[in-house]
């Protein structure tokens, strides 16, 4: 129910404007950056240690950033500093166009999964002191780069949503304010799987997902696991859940590479969950035969 009317005129107008203004803007940018550097330098001189960051830069529409490159930033290091802290410092003091997603700073929003020194990790949960310096920071591999460290997450969301990621049951209790019963053991069983924060680190690390774009991927399968194993949904629904993950690009694609399990910032035993679903699927198929 949406009306989308493209306004041709303004669009072309702004475009020409942009190119003509580009020079001046870039010069001004440079001046500004020099200013910021100066201020930052004052900070640098009393810092004991400097950490060097090599950050991937790319912007499809800015001259000079169309070809991807690595920029080096030198950031004063302090105890307890995380990769995200360093990125924020670099952005606020050296180059305000440095772009990355972040929000909670406490490993719960899942927006800052990055490729740091060749491994998928959350910027906010990675101590600089645990890394080899200089620190190389890139956007997540196997995802389209939108700009700098920001990647397109649509594909990941699509996969997550393809497994019917919502609770379904036909047997809700009748009484008013009556909850469904769930044993502690059963809650314990699904507990780890419910901790996923949709950061997509696992998906990015999986070679199979890289090769087969339709592969559901570890996070989505884990999501399916979360419901399939929840006793509150009932047996019928479990059957249905297994059908979903048994699809061509479902669990059978997993080659137990374990890299998803290795990188998951929430320590979810993804491979184990996938394997368990494979066995469950075989078991239920054996019932059919």
């Amino acid at each position: 129910m949406s009306t989308q009317i493209q306004e041709q005129e303004t669009e072309t107008e702004t475009e020409t404007e942009q190119t003509s203004e580009h020079q001046t803007r870039r010069l001004a940018e440079k001046r500004e950056r020099a200013d910021m550097r100066e201020r930052a330098e004052a900070d640098l001189s009393d810092a004991d240690e400097i950490v060097r960051l090599k950050i991937f830069r790319y912007d499809p529409e800015v001259e000079g950033k169309k070809d991807p490159r690595f920029d080096t930033f030198e950031v004063p290091f302090g105890k307890g500093m995380t990769v995200l802290d360093a990125l924020i410092y670099a952005r606020d003091h050296f180059d305000s166009s440095l772009t990355f997603r972040h929000s909670c700073r406490q490993a719960i929003c899942g927006s800052d999964a990055l490729f740091v020194n060749g491994r998928q990790q959350l910027g906010c949960k990675t101590q600089l002191s645990d890394l080899e310096w200089p620190v190389r920071i890139e956007p997540l591999p196997h995802a389209e780069v939108v700009k700098d460290l920001v990647v397109d997450m649509e594909h990941f969301y699509d996969q997550m949503e393809a497994v019917e990621p919502y609770f379904q049951t036909n047997e809700l209790p009748k009484g008013e304010l009556e909850e469904q019963r769930q044993t502690r053991e059963n809650r314990e069983k699904v507990k780890m799987s419910t901790r996923c924060i949709w950061c997509s680190a696992c998906m990015s690390s999986c070679n199979i997902a890289a090769g087969d774009n339709k592969y559901l991927g570890p996070a989505a399968i884990n999501k399916a696991y979360r419901f399939a194993m929840d006793e509150r949904e009932g047996e019928d629904m479990k059957e249905h859940r297994l059908n979903i993950i048994e699809q061509e690009h479902g669990v059978w694609r997993c080659q137990t590479q374990f890299s998803c399990t290795v990188v998951c910032p929430k320590d979810i035993p993804l491979t184990e969950h996938i394997q368990e679903l494979k066995r469950e699927a075989v078991k239920s198929n054996l019932k059919f035969w």
Partner: protein
């Protein structure tokens, strides 16, 4: 011009926004969510503790309401508090039916545990990640219902008619900046716009809130004429990690954790801040004690104190406080089994916000607010732990239902400037608050804009200009302004408040406003321009900071989370009233409206708050 049309538009997709969208959908409305973060990235996910609801025998909603009223230090409105207590059980069971993985009892029912300030263990929880599960469970329901989500769309302006009196104005939609493509997009809402933009902790430089919690909703509503209510009431948490603001739960002190200053003194006792309760004194007492230590030169690095739990022994730590070890290691690089953890107070929750009634509606028809950005008011001057999450689902649902046309009955809470009973006449501000050029840039000033389509189109056009200007202008970097603002707020408007400091803060805020006139965005890109977004947010922070400080300066008493050096007592005779600030088209005006203490079955008598 791209204009999307829906019955109900929900701005923000945290707990409150998601619940509102589901409610509107239940009502049969065509609802869409517009959010600057993908829903699962919202800060509701960070809540750990739990959700209060009177579910069991021996407990009932009246007890919950009573506890909440007492916790609010009698500044909450009874009809709203009672609505919260009455609706919470049903809403929590609803969550359970949607599959939320609550912690369980042996008999398979949802577990409840005791929480500070509650007379009954009524806090339901899901491990130490209640908010995460609440957020994800509701997003799942949104996916199930196929509700349209415009994710990574930054709402920067409300489309409101241009009547002189805010109470005559109507909201017809909003304008958003599509972060990925750089388009300015209009949203037309035939039923209503629900703001659910969450907290505004970024006003301070140290907070448990997310970087995205910049108070956009309250700032936008405030500027189109909705009064801001009780803004001076900001809750601080005494134990947060200095570098990130990550919260170290009260559990550490509960288990016997000890606070030390740089001289190794157990200052809670040594300097008599709380000779009986010591580390277990209430949040505000501990926060102030910590800051006093630092101010008196007994802090470490002039910044924080130590929270030590080593003496508890490895076994007990691993058994009960394991997650604390991970938090300290991951976010502070400290292993709390081997060394003490640095902690300092941090902003945690804002009780004040957009003035609404118990149906979530503001004085502008068609404009609603729910969640932390709203002030109905449930929490009064102090929020009890575990009461924010039920607020999200209860008032989120009510706002959603009401916007979609369900009849919820006449609201008991009066809203808008007409509810004023008393004006603030002699507030002594060192500088003029409000817009620099008093002219109202937020509503077309000629009073001609009333047609819904026009209102939205005008707003889109205005916003497009503002963004073009910001992009074209090379001026001050917003980050400098933001940093100075946050520092000033933390220095002067945090747990310690005194007249001179508050005035100082107002001066800095004014300066920030002036510097903001010259702000520019140096990233020329249309694609994912976070520089631009942060620049717009900074404007909102300035407005919010000002309301907090004005409220704090006006309220000459010590109530709940608001402490004044000059006024160390709660003064019910004079201050049993809500502080209201109206933007007043650019020149803010303070006034008061009464607190409603008459509940359904009883009237709440203010008592001394002691536990």
């Amino acid at each position: 011009m791209r204009i999307h049309e829906h019955d109900v538009i929900v701005v923000g997709a945290g707990g409150a926004g998601l619940r509102a969208a589901i409610a509107a959908h239940e009502e049969g409305a065509d609802v869409a969510m517009v959010t600057k973060l993908h829903p699962v990235r919202s800060h509701t996910g960070a809540a750990e503790g739990g959700i209060n609801a009177a579910l069991r025998d021996g407990d009932d909603w009246e007890l919950h309401a009573y506890d909440t009223m007492k916790g609010s230090d009698y500044l909450g409105d009874a009809p709203v508090i009672e609505t919260l207590a009455q609706d919470a059980p049903e809403e929590v069971i609803q969550l359970e039916h949607w599959g939320m993985p609550f912690s369980r009892e042996d008999d398979g029912r949802v577990s409840q545990r005791p929480f500070g300030g509650l007379s009954f263990p009524r806090t339901t929880y899901a491990g130490a990640e209640t908010g995460h599960h609440l957020l994800h469970t509701m997003y799942e329901q949104v996916v199930k219902r196929g509700i349209k989500v415009y994710d990574e769309f930054y709402v920067s302006r409300l489309a409101v008619t241009d009547h002189d009196d805010p109470e005559d104005r109507e909201c017809h939609g909003c304008v958003a900046y599509d972060i990925k493509s750089g388009d300015v997009v209009g949203f037309r809402a035939t039923g209503g716009v629900i703001l659910a933009t969450g907290g505004d902790g970024q006003v301070f430089d140290h907070t448990t809130n997310a970087v995205a919690n910049t108070g956009d909703g309250p700032a936008m509503a405030y500027r189109v004429g909705v009064p801001a209510e009780d803004m001076e009431f900001v809750q601080f948490h005494p134990t947060t990690l200095p570098s990130t603001g990550v919260l170290i739960s009260e559990g550490v002190r509960g288990e016997g954790g000890i606070l030390y200053n740089s001289k190794g003194e157990r200052f809670m006792f040594e300097y008599g801040y709380a000779n009986n309760a010591g580390e277990l004194a209430s949040r505000d007492v501990v926060s102030r004690a910590e800051l006093t230590e630092v101010n008196n030169g007994r802090g470490i690095n002039d910044e924080y104190v130590y929270l030590d739990m080593r003496h508890l022994g490895d076994e007990r730590i691993y058994d009960r406080l394991e997650n604390i070890i991970h938090l300290a290691e991951d976010f502070e690089g400290v292993n709390p089994v081997e060394e003490p953890m640095p902690v300092k107070p941090g902003q945690h929750y804002h009780m004040g916000g957009i003035e609404t009634d118990e149906n979530g509606e503001t004085c502008i028809s068609g404009l609603y607010a729910a969640g932390e950005c709203a002030c109905a008011s449930v929490h009064g001057s102090n929020r009890l732990g575990g009461n924010a999450l039920p607020e999200l689902i209860v008032f989120g649902a009510r706002a959603g239902h009401h916007a979609a046309g369900r009849d919820l009955g006449e609201a008991k809470v009066q809203t808008g400037p007409s509810a004023e009973t008393e004006a603030e006449e002699n507030l002594d501000t060192p500088v003029e608050p409000g817009a620099i050029d008093a002219a109202n840039e937020d509503v077309a000033a000629d009073g001609a804009l009333v047609e819904p389509e026009e209102v939205v189109e005008y707003a889109v056009e205005a916003e497009r200009h503002r963004i073009e200007d910001l992009l074209a202008h090379d001026g001050t970097n917003h980050a400098e302004i933001r940093e100075d603002l946050q520092k000033a707020m933390t220095e002067n408007v945090n747990v310690f408040r005194e007249k001179e400091g508050l005035k100082k803060a107002l001066e800095v805020i004014r300066e920030c406003r002036e510097r903001y006139q010259d702000v520019g965005v140096s990233d020329p890109s249309r694609t994912y321009n976070t520089d631009l977004i942060h620049t717009i947010e900074t404007r909102n922070l300035i407005d919010i900071a000002e309301t907090i400080t004005l409220g704090a300066l006006a309220r000459e008493e010590f109530r709940g989370a608001h402490w004044r050096r000059e006024h160390q007592e709660r003064r019910d005779d004079e201050w049993l009233k809500h502080t209201m600030i109206a933007w007043n088209d650019g020149s803010p005006r303070l006034y008061y409206k009464p607190v409603i203490l008459e509940g359904e079955n009883k009237t709440y008598e203010p008592k001394i708050r002691s536990y």
